[in-house]
Subunit: 360 residues, 2 copies
């Protein structure tokens, strides 16, 4: 898309009284941002506006873009291939985002982790572990770079990939103790914001930030959230966006557990570990060799020798479902499977695609 | 994972009588490939084998790996972060694959397109268009680099990302007229095979190749397939793997349509374009500006002026669902939406999250 389209897009998004719903409606109606910009003053007048609606000027938009490029930030609008597809699917999608770092990682499947700023040590540990587990399964971990749970989540996933969504500009470092984490995410992950670089966050920016956190993600995990906290707003956005909500339960004695317990009561998935999230999202777990064979030691040879005749009796040249053999043998499944494995390696058993077995 | 584990893994996979099911069972039972290798001879003997089972030697495995590295191929086993997650989810997953090119693109969401070698010109055009449409939506397009539909599918997606799965080694160029396409996919996409580099494909390799094509993909699109053709085997694997099957219908007069029409009769999604695939997989379409505003021209001003009083009558300070306003007005939705847009820009209308509107 040419620079003219981009500037017009930015002007439209920054004009007075044009929120995401109106922006989407204007682009849908007029097809191109220039045509929408040209139509807006007349539409506003016809809609009963007394003073002319103030459009963002081309100079203002060009200045914003120049300043952004100086800080290394990149503007992404809907037509950019790097605009994250899940965020585009939000209705209405934010008209634009700025990124600092590698926007391409936003195409990875992502899960958000959010929670209390004044989190307990246990809560922070859980958030970090869940983030690391999701990262090990190649998921991008999204959070808001706030104190507490957010910081723990980013720390757990900074090695595998994390995205921090800020309420202020992508270059706005807050809280100050996260300066190094901010720099590392900008270098190895990505920082995202709807606001122009240089913006200091205001209270009204946070809901829009939270809506992007959930919108970038297949689901949002809430770890410690008091009733009425911002994390519950993120969870509500996730529901509105038809995304999953996960909540880590806690003791009713701690007020920081109330929000999560409430979410579970309303249908959120009770979550104790990354595995709970991976299962619900049907994400393949990373495969690892077992250092210790103990918990899965094959059945001992005596047990197998004793059971083999019964299994051979149940097998024949006609393929039989594996499940039937196990059920009819009355033997533990590991014993039956061990015998079948031996017979197969012995060249006496044939397996067919539909989980059936036959003697050769 | 250390080189010793990798060599043992390769030896186990290349040993006599150890197919994917047995391989998976051995790794599950013994936790590590070395322990499985050590156990196999005894298991085979106990299973009734008369001559000792021949294990692949460490030298053979090292030679295979060296030769692979010389051709630029990379071995991926389950423990490698780049082993494609969807292929790992297949039961049983192939123990290993070789890749030539960029294995990281296999982490992208993928759709397979397969079909007749002796495809019609129309079929090839459809395959190329569907591939280009899927590519524009950032999907990876998977196929088998055969003549006809496969070639057309790769050509349609080579600019956006394509994976070619071969029955022979990744360096085996076939058919000869695809030499340039093979080179381009190796440079810009990825070539995949279960066989060692240098392998000339045999008939028995093709079903395993087809199983990887469907296994890498969220769904398989079949474009022209005669009854009994290899493409229908790929479709059957896709079903076994709980993936989607898409089929492009055709005239009953052409025998190349029979397989696809049959698939549709059995429940495959009737597919005419990439959009049908994107809808079924809930993939976000790429967003593009409209050059021509004509088909969506806003309603004319006279119609809006005539309808405005009725809409204002229906609105009040209490938020009302947008759908109710449209229904109760009895007016065309575009007219109502245009009036609401004007009122909003005029500063007289407030929208709330749940698609409700109120007069200010």
């Amino acid at each position: 898309m040419n620079e003219g389209h981009r500037l017009a897009w930015l002007r439209l998004a920054r004009s007075e009284g044009i929120g995401p719903v109106t922006f989407a409606r204007l682009i849908e109606t007029y097809g191109q941002p220039e045509r929408a910009l040209a139509a807006v003053p007349d539409l506003a007048r016809r809609g009963g506006r007394r003073t002319p609606l103030k459009l963002a000027s081309e100079d203002d938009a060009a200045r914003e873009l120049d300043a952004a490029h100086t800080t290394g930030a990149r503007l992404l609008i809907w037509t950019d291939p790097d605009f994250p597809p899940l965020l585009r699917a939000v209705d209405p999608a934010p008209p634009l985002i700025y990124t600092l770092g590698d926007p391409k990682i936003l195409a990875r499947r992502a899960v958000a982790i959010v929670g209390a700023r004044n989190a307990s040590a246990g809560g922070r540990k859980l958030a970090e572990d869940i983030a690391a587990g999701l990262g090990a399964a190649s998921l991008l971990v999204v959070s808001g770079l706030a104190r507490g749970i957010d910081t723990a989540a980013h720390n757990g996933a900074v090695a595998t990939g994390t995205a921090a969504v800020l309420a202020g500009g992508v270059d706005n470092v807050y809280p100050p103790e996260n300066a190094r984490l901010h720099a590392r995410i900008a270098a190895e992950g990505v920082i995202v914001s709807e606001m122009p670089p240089g913006t200091t966050p205001q209270a009204q920016h946070f809901p829009r930030r939270n809506r992007i956190i959930s919108g970038l993600s297949l689901g949002t995990v809430v770890v410690e959230a008091a009733i009425g906290s911002g994390s519950l707003i993120t969870a509500r956005y996730a529901l509105e966006q038809n995304r999953e909500v996960f909540a880590v339960p806690g003791s009713p004695i701690d007020p920081r557990s109330r929000g999560c317990n409430d979410l579970i009561r309303q249908g959120a998935t009770l979550t104790e570990s990354a595995d709970d999230v991976l299962s619900a999202l049907q994400v393949q777990r990373p495969f690892a060799l077992r250092e210790d064979p103990a918990p899965h030691t094959p059945p001992d040879d005596d047990a197998i020798d004793a059971a083999r005749p019964a299994i051979l009796e149940l097998l024949g040249p006609t393929p039989v479902p594996l499940d039937d053999i196990i059920r009819r043998s009355g033997l533990p499944a590991p014993t039956v499977l061990a015998i079948l494995l031996e017979l197969e390696l012995g060249g006496r058993l044939h397996r067919t695609p539909g989980q059936t077995v036959a003697l050769l």
